[in-house]
Amino acid sequence: MWRTLDYDFGGTDTVLVKMTDGTHVVESTADVELRDRTAVLHGLHILSGGGRNTLGLWALPGLISWAKAQLDVDHRRIEGATCTSGAGPGCVPPPLAF
């Protein structure tokens, strides 16, 4: 079960959130835009405390569900920031919808 450890939003649409499921600690920042019942996250950056790729796909659905409940939306669309490492540095990843 994910829960918020800390957050900042500074009165704008940009958020900086630290959350945990008891095993992982994840920090993320993004510009959040609400379109009807969809939250669009622009320029999403994620930092997993255990290092690169430690969050794993199995933990993502729970994290996404939790975030949707927090934002009171039915859908979430992620428009990630430009990759600077991995297989495609310089590439903007395609949007993901959940």
Binding site: T12, L16, G43, V92
Partner: protein
């Protein structure tokens, strides 16, 4: 101040958090890491009270170099020194910059001040003279 990415931005969130602590708004910090990811550099305003040496060291550990903008207006001696390091006469230097040699002489002797774009061009020319020469000329066909 200018931020420059030196490697992969694996800890962009940490960079944003540190910039936020240094006085940027959260939105500015987020914009900075997006630009660092996309362009490799970003400019930002750091609070004057910030310990810049400490901030620089902390950002360096996150693959981000903190750089200070050089003053836009140069002293006359700096212009002479830049030309000297390139080993050019006043006439050759003025030709490369596309200005009248008397204009250059006035700058070097402090009689007139160059504008911001001219000093920027001179500094770029000192760093990458071949690229500037290529950019300012074209083949005759």
């Amino acid at each position: 101040m200018v931020l420059r990415r030196t490697d992969a931005l694996d800890k962009g969130v940490s960079v944003a958090r540190r910039l936020f602590a240094a006085g940027l708004t959260l939105k500015q910090a987020h914009e900075a890491i997006n630009k660092l990811a996309a362009l490799g550099w970003a400019s930002c305003a750091i609070a004057k009270a910030e310990n810049l040496a400490l901030l620089s060291a902390e950002l360096a550990a996150l693959n981000v170099e903190l750089r200070r903008r050089r003053p836009i207006l140069a002293y006359a001696s700096e212009i002479t020194a830049m030309r000297g390091r390139l080993g050019l006469s006043q006439r050759d230097y003025a030709d490369f910059l596309g200005i009248d040699v008397r204009t250059l002489q006035n700058w070097e002797q402090g009689r007139n001040k160059q504008d911001a774009s001219a000093i920027s061009l001179m500094r770029v020319f000192e760093q990458v003279p071949d690229a500037v020469e290529q950019a300012l000329t074209e083949p005759v066909t």
